[in-house]
């Protein structure tokens, strides 16, 4: 057995993180360094994070999916993508919304998912399962024994989330109320138009809205 503490703890942990292809949890690191108490490991990880940030290198240490992983910073994405010869992985708006429903409402069955968006979700659920972003958690004990869906660890990794608790908070329903800006300015509008431009370069913004016959006459009550 190698006398493990001959090297500085932070650097040992850095080596482990570098050599691992997936996020390492404090427990996993502790398993490699049984003599080091978990709080010391946690402190060393925080130390490493600070060091990386201070160095202003192109990589940093992120806490994701209840573990730690060395990742490139987003500013360098275009270059990395060129090296990987791939286009950035994307989810359609519908897939993203379905994923959000599952993330916030899990465990959830298909029928409930479809109620949220008002459309069939079969195809999208398949895609999300194939991408390993959601998983089948079991079957509900009601007639038809429908499948129950939930998110995976991969979901946390992909969306840069520590755990499910760190999902962005849902807005209160009443906050969409009258007098509020939100009433006239729907929150999704800006992002939606922007994404259309990115994804469908062929359709200009004017094609995104069907010509509506009453447009020129103004609303009639």
């Amino acid at each position: 057995m190698v006398p493990i503490m001959e090297k500085p703890l932070e650097l040992i942990i850095e080596a482990l993180l570098f050599a691992s292809s997936k996020p390492l949890s404090v427990q996993e690191i502790h398993r490699c360094l049984p003599d080091v108490p978990a709080p010391d490991i946690r402190a060393a990880l925080t130390g490493l994070q600070t060091t990386y940030d201070a160095m202003e290198r192109s990589i940093c240490l992120k806490e994701v999916a209840e573990g730690y992983q060395i990742r490139t910073r987003s500013a360098y994405a275009p270059y990395v993508l060129r090296m990987l010869r791939s286009s950035p992985s994307r989810l359609s708006r519908a897939a993203l919304e379905t994923l959000a429903i599952i993330a916030y409402k899990q465990p959830i069955i298909r029928q409930e998912i479809e109620q949220f968006r008002g459309v069939d979700a079969g195809g999208i659920l398949r895609t999300l399962l194939e991408k390993d972003l959601i998983r089948i958690m079991g079957r509900k004990t009601i007639p038809g024994r429908p499948l129950i869906y939930g998110t995976t660890k991969k979901f946390l990794e992909v969306f840069d989330l520590k755990d499910l608790e760190s999902l962005p908070k849902l807005k209160e329903l009443k906050d969409f109320g009258s007098g509020d800006e939100a009433a006239v300015h729907l929150p999704e509008e800006d992002g939606q138009v922007e994404r259309f431009k990115e994804n469908e370069t062929r359709s200009g913004p004017e094609e995104q809205r069907l010509p509506f016959p009453k447009d020129r006459e103004g609303p009639t009550a």
């Binding site: 950035p88 959000a100 429903i101 459309v119 969306f159 840069d160 006239v184 999704e188 939606q192 009550a221």
Partner: protein
């Protein structure tokens, strides 16, 4: 000649409703139901005229809107006064949907793996020694099916022909075989259980037997996090008890 236009602008009826509410700049808690219904129906007409397939979901929402509109026209019959606003039937789901759209947008703005940030690539040129105690993931049915497809593809080049004659292999028999192999070894590779199989139906029976064994919990299936690495089967029973386990199979 017919010209088919396919536009994926509105995913569903709720998307269309939100669009109308925004376009008319109305308060979601005070939807002018008559205007919105009228415009919604006009949109459906337009979609039909454009040869867009109008899904049943759109029609259901149309009838809901018309129903609400008619309810609003009726005088409030309730003596007690405070009657629930018929519009709540659509306001509530719309709000829920807006909430989801908002967080979906927030999620898409995060630093997404494979789009904005990248980990180190999987180093798969060396095969780490498989260790039973080591970190391994339970695998999904899709991964198992992928592995099975690879086995089938390996066994025969060319088109896959399925001919079922009378049953020559039974799941029970194959399950016993897998169990006896595991009894000797405690752990084996996914591919190995197929080593004796020659024909496609036989592969399938072996595969079904494995699924059954996993289902009743006597075999565990693992794959290291890398998707191309070997799938391992691990016995999940005391070595002595296999005879009875074989009998317990409800097949």
């Amino acid at each position: 000649m017919d010209y088919e236009v396919k536009l994926e602008i509105f995913e569903g009826p709720l998307d269309l409703l939100l669009h109308l509410i925004h376009k008319n700049e109305v308060d979601i808690f005070d939807i002018p139901i008559s205007t919105i219904t009228e415009q919604y129906l006009a949109y459906l007409e337009m979609m039909k005229a454009l040869n867009m397939s109008v899904a049943g979901d759109f029609l259901v929402m149309a009838s809901t809107l018309v129903h609400i509109k008619s309810k609003m026209l009726l005088p409030c019959s309730d003596e007690e006064g405070e009657e629930e606003d018929p519009r709540n039937e659509i306001t509530r789901p719309l709000l829920e949907y807006m909430r989801i759209k908002e967080v979906a947008q927030e999620l898409s703005e995060r630093e997404i793996l494979g789009r904005d940030v990248f980990p180190r690539q999987d180093v798969s040129w060396y095969d780490a020694e498989p260790e039973t105690e080591g970190p391994s993931l339970d695998i999904s049915l899709f991964q198992l099916i992928d592995a099975f497809r690879r086995i089938i593809e390996k066994s025969q080049s060319g088109a896959m022909m399925l001919t079922f004659r009378h049953e020559r292999w039974s799941i029970k028999e194959k399950a016993r075989l897998i169990l006896s192999l595991l009894k000797e070894r405690k752990e084996m590779l996914f591919d190995e259980i197929f080593s004796e199989d020659r024909e496609v139906p036989e592969f399938i029976v072996t595969f079904l037997a494995l699924l059954e064994l996993v289902h009743i919990g006597v075999v565990k299936v693992f794959q290291a996090s890398c998707h191309t690495s070997d799938i391992r089967l691990v016995a999940n029973f005391e070595v002595d008890g296999t005879e009875e386990l074989g009998e317990d199979l409800t097949l």
